[in-house]
Amino acid sequence: MAEKLDVSGARDMLVAVSQAMIDQTDTLTDADLAIGDGDHGIGMRRGFEAALEALNAGQPESVEAAFKATGTAILSNTGGAAGAVFGTLFRSGAKGFSGGTVDGESFAAFLEEGLVAVLKRGGVTEGQKTMVDALAPASRAARAASGDGLQAACAAAASAALAGVEASKGMIATTGKARSLGERSIGHADPGAISIILKAMQDFTA
């Protein structure tokens, strides 16, 4: 059980997150085929394989640098909307770790900083059937649980993200390639990459 991670622990957590995303390539592809064009899985695999490479290249200088390097690798290699969104989440969210460690408070700050940047970049709000519908409740849940430590904050965020993905099934897509489906998008969930990331963080800190 981890309640505080230093730079080496943060790096290991990001390696675990990257591996989890790579393992879920087919799941993401199938979810995307239902309402998008089916390139989400291979795009995320490209990004997180590059992140793994960056993380394995050597010990990052700081927790913030490790998250930023992960985000930069995703941004440069994923491409598409997913690259911009998830790259921004890690790069901007990294500011939350300026204190130097990963704990309940800084983890919540990571999601908050990341959410603000993603909302601005994507020009979206909650309820448009995007990853924001998982990220926003996860960020609120992490903040509410942050006083109980890192493990509790990660668990709360992961479970809120999963619920958010589930809730996105009832939403009508009003942005992105699924937008043109309109009401036909109801019944399909956002592919849920944010939920995979947070679940991997939860497992790592458990």
Partner: protein, 334 residues
């Protein structure tokens, strides 16, 4: 259903290998950047307003096939159906910049918008003037009052042609941007899908259509269109498509237009010419004059079957730039 056949090497390396082949096919007029998936002209004149185009790969010849004289000065190339990352766009932009600013011209998709915007912010930090014009010609994507929500499809070609011509003649980024915006405001397209294409790396079809179905207005990535229906005769389909386009701008009696019929990949020239015949009957009836016609293959979705129809309303200025000679692998005109 069996995955469609494609003759490839490593499916993960299609973009790099394709760009190598594209450079060679241009006989020295283009080069690829060393470390990024971007193509630029080798014969770029000095002090020219730069035109950078780009988007996801897999739609060849667009976008990278439209780099050349009086066309795009460079293209930032994403993976298959995915927008290029900001660093690809940034490096491509630096490579085409000749001191007079850069016009970004690309199709309006969330991924392209975000990545090109991030690159534009990086360039602005370097003190380089960047303007963005997004192509929004697909009338099936959103109602007329929400053109900003419309996708860019085959109309991209005319926009690149006009912006390429304008950027070779006009000295300021302001003027080139003005002409490009005017062109976008006057172009309308709609497609019909007959069968899906597939992504090389997954081998999976991007959407499903029954054997006897077509979809009017489907997007270039299988985005849902306006209606799915039983397959119908060419004249009926042409009537449906023209009905959506004509009323949208709207195009009026006395207007002069450029007409483009674009093959989405696997449709025959024979079918497109039959459709062209009907479209001209409709335009004659409506009193709309065709200044020029382009029937060919410019924006594809791998082996997707279907086609799109584009009308661009012309004035003297748009006509001048559209009619300029141009030279690129995907589109040449003497």
């Amino acid at each position: 259903m069996a995955n469609p056949k494609k003759i490839l090497n490593d499916p993960k390396k299609v973009v790099g290998e394709m760009l190598d082949g594209l450079v060679l096919a241009n006989d020295g007029r283009l080069r690829k950047l060393d470390r990024h998936a971007a193509i630029v002209r080798t014969d770029l004149p000095d002090s020219k307003v730069a035109l950078l185009i780009g988007g996801g790969s897999g739609h060849e010849p667009i976008f990278h096939g439209f780099v050349g004289r009086n066309m795009g000065d460079g293209a930032a190339c994403g993976q298959v159906f995915a927008a290029p990352s900001p660093d690809i766009i940034y490096e491509a932009a630096k490579a085409v910049h000749r001191g007079r600013g850069i016009l970004f011209l690309y199709g309006n998709y969330a991924g392209d918008n975000m990545n090109f915007d991030m690159a534009a912010e990086m360039l602005e930090d370097d003190g380089i003037d960047v303007r963005t014009v997004r192509v929004t010609d697909d009338v099936a994507a959103a109602p007329p009052e929400r053109t900003h929500d419309r996708r860019g499809i085959a109309g991209d070609l005319y926009m690149i042609k006009i912006a390429g011509g304008a950027s070779s003649q006009l000295n300021t980024l302001d003027e080139v941007e003005r002409v490009a915006r005017k062109a976008v405001a006057n172009v309308r397209s709609i497609g019909v899908a007959v069968a899906a294409g597939s992504i090389p790396e997954t081998g999976k079809l991007t959407f499903e259509l029954a054997e006897d179905e077509i979809e009017i207005g489907m997007g270039a990535h299988g985005e849902a269109g306006v209606s799915r229906q039983k397959i119908a005769p060419a004249d009926t389909v042409a009537d449906l498509l023209m009905d959506k386009i004509l009323g949208d701008l709207p195009f009026r009696r006395g207007d002069e237009v450029a007409l483009m019929i674009n093959n989405l990949g696997a449709t025959t020239m024979m079918e497109m010419l039959i459709v062209n015949r009907r479209i001209r009957q409709i335009l004659d009836r409506e009193g709309i004059k065709v200044h020029r016609t382009d029937v060919g293959t410019w924006l594809t979705v791998q082996e997707m079957a279907g086609f799109s129809v584009t009308l661009l309303k012309l004035d003297d200025e748009l006509k001048r730039y559209l009619d300029m000679p141009a030279e690129s692998l995907g589109y040449s005109r003497m």
